[in-house]
Amino acid sequence: MTTANESAQFTIKSIVDGVRSSKFSATEVAAVYLDRTRKFASRLNCNLHLDDIAALSEAKAADQRIKAAGSGNLPLAGVPVLVKDNICVKGSKTTCGSRILENYVATYDATVIQRLREAGAFVIGKVNMDEFAMGSSNENSAFGPVRNPWNEEYVPGGSSGGSAAAVAARLAPVALGSDTGGSIRQPASFCGIVGLKPTYGTVSRYGLVAFGSSLDQIGPMTTTVEDAALMLDVLAGADSHDSTSVKHPDGGFAKALLADKHGFSGMTIGIPEEFFDSGLDPEVAACLEQAIAVVQKAGAKTKRVRLPNISYSVAAYYVIATAEASANLARFDGIRYGYRSAEKNLSLKEVYRKSRSEGFGREVKQRIMLGTFVLSSGYYDAFYSKANKVRELISRDFAAAFDSGCDLLLTPTSPTPPFKLGEKLSDPLAMYLSDICTIGVNLADLPGISIPCGRTKSGLPVGMQLIAPKFNEKKLLIGANAYERATEWHKASPNL
């Protein structure tokens, strides 16, 4: 097998090719990544519940499955996958970055885990995250903040910050993230990797600990667009356990990338004005300007479009997502599993109150209260109903932009480059605005992808977002792939 250093440049594609042609085994791939994990994970605090033995036994089991299936047949043969700690892996802790689930061991596999295993991949570990996926900096984890591998004084973004940092540090070729308002794309942008949020319903949510059920999607975080396509091929599909999942009208995304001869040529890319206003960080603006030039040079026409209601997206999002979260998190009550206050002789009400007060972190409690409030009798119409009307208007804005002849939309992923640890902790509103470019995509159920498109003067990654119409992941990936081929940004990895 090749050396560990070379493996740092491994992609899913290269691993699958190697394992399918029997050059090396899943177990050998695991050993290489576990070696890197031992070296770098604790510095970045991106992994949780490190367990080499469990990871190796997963790898061995994958080797057996690959052998049983005939090595050439499994699309993700030998691919180690890091899993955000809000996705259930049977027998493994699934903490959601929360004290309240600190010792919770999942009793079943999420559908995505089953699908990955069937495809020849294996779980190499679980990664850190903002508690219950609530946050944009990964500072809300009960298990400490994750650090950005490009500069450890900076945040990796959130909430899938552990996934992004680990993939950027090449501790695995891919990590699963979850995206409710930008939690895959924003950290992917902050860490210089690719993050794909599929159309709502594309990937089963069964086994993903719910935050905002009508917004949550699982997606891959990878180092290349082709790898994202290979992952989506396996992840996408209807699941009888998830009524909101659907059979994707397309499929064969990786094949479509290979077959595509046109890239951007013939495409019209919409540039929504609202995301390029004075609020945009000048360094990010400069990167985006260059990116637009690249797109044009690659053969796309660009066109300015408007999304008139997008300025309401953050407000609508924080009503809908928190409302759903307040119900979703009610089950963490100290009765059946999870943290229960150690105090003795508590009444039932006190068990609830103390267990939840002690078990949840500050941001989570804040959002539960917000969500509880907006659903309360007398406030429902003013908040929850209205937010859903805004959601509909935002969906129509996007639809109108696509109807006006745009194949894709191009925006910054985040209005700012990565910020320093602690910088925005005292200013929740500034933190919430960090998701302003991504939230609308969730509200409109659209697919979006963040890809690296530049670097700040201090060397921090900047990402751009492409957005496609519902279930048009194929076009989204073709566009992203065309951009990637025209640039070198994705090839760089942080110097650890």
């Binding site: 809000n86 996705i87 259930c88 699934t94 959601c96 689930l101 919770y104 999942a106 009793t107 079943y108 999420a110 949510r205 069964y206 086994g207 993903l208 600990v209 719910a210 905002g212 059920s213 009508s214 009888s240 356990h241 998830d242 009524s243 909101t244 409302a323 759903e324 307040s326 119900a327 998190l329 009610a330 089950r331 963490f332 009550d333 009765i335 059946r336 599993y337 039932l348 609830y352 509880t372 659903l375 309360s376 009798s377 429902y380 929850y384």
Partner: protein
């Protein structure tokens, strides 16, 4: 408790004072939870079987583990459609599940998945024995909660029932008497049982009722303030609770005090209702549409498939019993109040054949048989006296083998000790065959007359009433075995002879 009470007189609980009912009119609406007897729960594949070891019928979904999602059981939807069809309700093309949020240990997710402002079924009606029609507001699908079990030191939670499918059926406040309330429930139970969507077992909780009760001065149009009574687990208690509540509210109003809208619990031991602690009912359930489930769409083809397989419903069956078996409306209603009872009756009719009329069979089933069913809490699906046994007994009367009196005694004996080898064998073993031999009857009658010279003398002087005395004496001496008609004939003949003599 599987016994229908339709065939017996209402339990003799104290009626609200007539004076109270002269002044106030009760207004009653009922909410019924019917457990649908699907194989599996509403949102997961766990069994719905009653009586399993605690927490045996559970999985991550119904335990509310992190990350699980509900997947709707389509059999439950079909059952719900059958109900809506049977009461002539409107089935909504699109309905929406909602989360009803509150904290309680028996509610694993911290919310119940139910239907709120957009239920699958609206309208419909049910007709009572009194001819009164009770309109339904709605019915909706929802999941049941689990059960808290309180021990000496600790409380325990059993989640076997968590996620079992229910339909909640809400009536308009169209009911005006406690008796009609009980009749409504009996009819509803009978209906869901004949639809085979619910086993209607009040004791096991598969058929549960809450009553909304208010009263208003007679002649007043505006409804009074209502109280909801919970914990009503038998038809008798439902009547008792409502009667008590009417008196309680009337007493308040009579003393110039307002009725406070609150939830009451019925205590069967004391026969009284008392308020639940107010905190427990001051819920803001914060309903909102369940984002994990798509709106429920029910198309016409699906409705038609259920319509095509509906069984004969109680009302239609009652009409058939009137026409085919020549029964009164009352007998037909009683016999069709339960599908097993109706089946029993028809089986007896078949067994009896031409030996007795269908009316006679109906009398036996509605009086003797139902009395024992109620007194002995017989399970109608598997009664200890079979249709075959009762049929045989009635046949013995019809063929003149035994008298009706003997038959009733025999029936009580069968109910008490079990039917053994059946009535025919019992009749033979106990020598109960009716005496129809004229010479033997003559002998006994002659002896009776000779043994009672004073009464005979009086009779001969014109006291005709004493004829019955001689019949009774003759039957007594013969142990009731003599054919009563023949005894009458012989007695008349011999007495006439002595008068002339």
């Amino acid at each position: 408790m599987n016994a229908p009470l339709n065939g017996t007189k209402p339990a003799q609980t104290s009626n609200p004072g007539d004076a109270v009912l002269d002044r106030y009119e009760p207004v009653i609406g009922l909410e019924v939870h019917c457990q649908l007897k699907t194989q599996t729960k509403l949102f997961c594949g766990c069994s719905t079987a009653f009586g399993a070891m605690p927490n045996h019928n559970t999985c991550p979904v119904c335990l509310g583990h992190p990350g699980v999602l509900p997947a709707l059981n389509s059999e439950a939807v079909n059952f719900a459609i059958r109900f809506a069809l049977a009461v002539g309700a409107d089935i909504q093309e699109t309905s929406v599940f909602a989360r009803k949020q509150y904290f309680y240990p028996d509610l694993p997710k911290g919310y119940q998945i139910t239907q709120y402002d957009l239920p699958y079924c609206t309208g419909g009606k049910l007709t009572l024995a009194s001819g009164k029609t009770v309109r339904l507001i709605r019915a909706h699908l929802e999941e049941d909660a689990g059960k808290n079990v309180h021990g000496d030191e600790s409380s325990y939670v059993d989640l076997n029932r968590a996620g079992v499918p229910l339909i909640e059926i809400v009536s308009h406040a169209d009911i005006r008497t406690p008796e009609d309330a009980a009749d409504y429930l009996k009819r509803l139970r009978s209906l869901v049982r004949s639809l085979e969507i619910c086993d209607g077992n009040l004791e096991e909780g598969s058929f549960r009722c809450d009553a909304n009760v208010s009263i208003r001065p007679r002649g007043q149009e505006k409804f009074g303030t209502r109280c909801e009574i919970k914990n009503l687990n038998s038809f008798r208690n439902i009547e008792r609770a409502i009667k008590y509540e009417i008196l309680r509210q009337a007493d308040l109003l009579d003393h110039g005090q307002p009725v406070v809208q609150q939830t009451m619990l019925f205590d069967a031991a004391s026969g009284k209702t008392h308020p639940m602690r107010s905190k427990e009912e001051s819920h803001d359930y914060r309903y909102f549409p369940e984002p994990d489930l798509l709106p429920l769409r029910i198309d016409e083809a699906r409705i038609q498939r259920q319509r095509d397989t509906l069984p004969e419903l109680p009302e239609a069956m009652a009409r058939r019993f009137e026409e085919k078996h020549g029964l009164s409306a009352y007998d037909a209603a009683v016999l069709t109040s339960d599908k097993d009872l109706a089946g029993f009756y028809e089986a007896v009719v078949k067994r009896v054949g031409s030996a007795a009329t269908e009316k006679i069979v109906a009398n036996w089933v509605t009086s003797e048989y139902l009395r024992e069913v109620n007194n002995r809490n017989w399970d109608l699906t598997n009664p200890p006296i079979t249709a075959d046994h009762l049929g045989e007994l009635i046949e013995l009367i019809g063929k003149g083998v035994i008298s009706g009196r003997i038959a009733k005694t025999l029936f009580e004996e069968m109910a008490e000790k079990g039917p053994g080898k059946g009535p025919k064998a019992m009749v033979e073993a106990q020598g109960l065959i009716q005496v129809s031999d004229t010479s033997e009857i003559r002998n006994v009658v002659t002896k009776v007359l000779d043994a009672n010279p004073e009464q005979l003398a009086e009779y001969l002087e014109g006291r005709d009433k004493l004829f019955g005395f001689f019949v009774g004496q003759t039957m007594k001496v013969s142990g009731g075995k003599m054919n009563p008609q023949m005894v009458n004939d012989v007695l008349k003949e011999l007495l006439d002879a002595r008068r002339k003599g």
